[in-house]
Amino acid sequence: MNPPSEFDPSALPSRRTLSRATLIAAVVASVLLVTVVLPAESGTDPTGVGRWLGLTALGELKSGHAAAETTAPATAPTTAAEPDAESAPYAFRTDELTLTLKPNEGTEVKAVMREGDQLVYSWTADSGELFFDFHGEPKGAPADVFTSFEKGSEGSAKGTFEAPFEGVHGWYWKNRTSEAITVRLNTSGVYKTIARK
């Protein structure tokens, strides 16, 4: 089927049509850029349309994220606790995770654990010190509920951790230096998954 047919130049849009289409496309693109993309990507909303659409919050989250996290590490997801109902215990596992933080960048790495699950951990920054907040968020808790276990600023840390409640447990790291820092985390223990949030 579909035998090849000859090229049919009459089917081509005329240059005039193309020019008009280009103009329309440029206008549409500019309007979308100002009313949709800028608000959603950078929180800049010159027209107010982005806020009306509810997109400015998305952009503000991205651009203002680092500032917000200095005071409240728990801006990270709390709905992250898995809605799984199966009661089988998590298997023992070992993970290694490496990530790089730009100057002023903060991130979270969390493990999904049940009450009583244990892990051993060790993390090392390749240079300088990282601010860290080792904390846990109970499963199903509202957005700003978390328990901090240990805070400080170090170049490395290791230890053993037993989850006092079911939820996600792990580190908030923030690079407060002016150089990029690469941190390597090794964990072994009983937990479902560990991942950067």
């Binding site: 089927m1 579909n2 090849p4 047919s5 000859e6 090229f7 049919d8 089917a11 081509l12 849009p13 240059r15 049509t17 193309l18 289409a21 280009t22 496309a25 549409v28 979308l32 949709v36 959603a40 659409l53 509810g54 997109l55 919050a57 998305l58 989250l61 991205k62 994220h65 801006t75 990270a76 997801p77 709390t78 709905t79 992250a80 606790a81 898995e82 809605p83 957005a143 949030k197």
Partner: protein, 240 residues
């Protein structure tokens, strides 16, 4: 299907194939940062929100499509030799039906598909379309696969690819169905916008005398890009 023109694979083919293959492969391999997921800030938003967030989900769907080079490459392949808008509309609709079905089904049913395998198949769909455009199925195997059915089927795989990206996140169950429908609507809007740009660019290109000369090479490049995607994803599959 009068409007489909397949260029003969002439003697030009081998001359352009080598450099183009090399260039495309080099480009794709040198871009590991393009791991095609949802951006970090978007991810945080997706995971933090609960309840109905239709417009933001729609935006993220559209953004995912507009910035999704694997979906765009396939679309470029699909419309490459479609000259009539009604054919473009027909094929793109088939593609949309395909990826909507599996996006909605995948996320809402919680079906887990390995993202690397799905993305490798998506890469393969790009290879298929390039080969199809060059008329090589007919030439090599003596049969021409039904192009409409093929677009629909590959659309199904593209939808699973979109679904796996969303499934990486623990989305709140609150308002999920509406949000996913909005995300899907956004994917269609993004596809429509991207397609508009592609059609305009191709319209100008088709007006040039060089189009016929470049068409075969462009489809070879498409095949190369598709293979690079396959290799990239399989590498991810075996190393993850």
């Amino acid at each position: 299907m009068k409007s489909v023109t397949r260029l003969p694979t002439s003697a030009r083919f081998p001359r352009v194939a080598g450099p183009l293959l090399a260039l495309t492969a080099a480009l794709l391999v040198s871009l590991p940062a393009l791991a095609h997921g949802v951006a970090d800030g978007d991810q945080q938003f997706l995971e933090q929100t609960a309840g109905s967030q239709l417009i933001p989900f729609m935006y993220l769907g559209a953004k995912h499509m507009v910035t999704g080079y694997d979906h765009l490459l396939f679309l470029v392949g699909v419309i490459f030799f479609l000259y009539h808008m009604r054919d473009v509309a027909l094929y793109v609709t088939l593609f949309s039906i395909g990826h909507s079905v599996t996006l909605l089904y995948g996320v809402l049913s919680g079906t887990n598909v390995n993202p690397y395998i799905v993305d490798a198949i998506i890469g393969f769909s790009v290879v298929y379309k390039g080969v199809d455009n060059l008329g090589l199925f007919k030439r090599w195997f003596g049969v021409q696969p039904n192009t409409k059915i093929a677009v629909l089927i590959f659309g199904l795989f593209h939808g699973f690819g979109l679904a796996t990206k969303l499934q990486d996140f623990s989305l709140s169950a609150d308002g999920l169905v509406g949000n996913i429908l909005a995300f899907n609507a956004g994917v269609e809007i993004g596809q429509f916008l991207a397609l508009g740009g592609v059609l305009i660019a191709m319209g100008y290109w088709r007006h040039t005398k060089a189009f016929a000369r470049h068409a075969a090479g462009a489809n070879v490049a498409l095949i190369a890009a598709g293979f690079a995607l396959v290799v990239y994803q399989m590498n991810g599959f075996f190393t993850s």
